[in-house]
Symmetry: C2
Subunit: 153 residues, 2 copies
């Protein structure tokens, strides 16, 4: 699982200057903001941020070390971002860099035992959040959401 939209972003959600039409877009972004904040809060309880959880999650899902380029692709971010994110994860002891004998250009990230535990904690929090979400949003609204999302893509 990936979760790049969890970041701390909240400057685009308050009033509506131009007209009534604006409200749809900005209301949607505001709600997404609130949801992201909920996800970040939940992960924070597990000692993780959204981006850190996303990386650990990908490593667990893959079941093997992944190169920084592969991770950047899965998280839809640029490679230099992954360099720094893995720096911070490595500092925390949640992943470790391993070199690849086959292709010496590659640097792979391998999850540590501590990283595995942390990922499980994060997944537990996310699961809890999801139950809450499912209870609040009815099936028919969820269908509307799907249509909305595909219209937006």
């Amino acid at each position: 699982m990936n979760d790049s939209a969890v970041a701390t972003e909240n400057t685009l959600t308050s009033a509506s200057p131009a007209g009534p039409t604006d409200q749809s877009i900005f209301a949607l972004l505001g709600a997404a903001h609130a949801l992201e904040a909920r996800v970040e809060d939940a992960l924070g309880r597990a000692g993780l941020s959204g981006p850190k959880y996303a990386v650990l999650n990908e490593l667990v899902a893959a079941g093997k070390p992944l190169s920084l380029s592969e991770l950047a692709g899965k998280l839809s971010c640029v490679k230099s971002n992954m360099t720094q994110l893995v720096d911070r994860l490595e500092t925390e002891g949640l992943v470790r860099r391993v070199s690849c004998p086959g292709d010496r250009r590659l640097v792979k990230a391998e999850i540590t035992d501590a990283g595995g535990e942390r990922q499980r904690d994060g997944a537990t929090e996310i699961a809890r959040l999801h139950v809450e979400f499912a209870a609040k949003v009815g099936a028919e609204d969820r269908a509307a959401l799907e249509r909305l999302l595909s219209a937006l893509q």
Copy 2:
């Protein structure tokens, strides 16, 4: 109109590790991400970022200089953020800091002529985007969106 959710956040939107339930949340965040990117692109054509547009917009809506604390309140961000954002806007000549004789603790941001032009350009781009959005999303789905949003808050 405000628009804080426009930031560059994209690490939480890819796969789904835990289960099928996760998809609702992360799909929503992913779509919001895409929408934010569209807004940022549109504003970029006007030479603005989301946060910068939000500030200019508030100043135009108020029709008078606003203190940095007032702006931070309207944009739902911390005050230190506004200090730096206004720094960048001032460097670009879009706003200017004015001191307040009545309460010498206050620093107000006043929009310049250049800032006013820039805001108009941004608003034009946003209006264009909104027409597109309204055309893609039907009225009934928009109603479902409203319910979704209030359930989320």
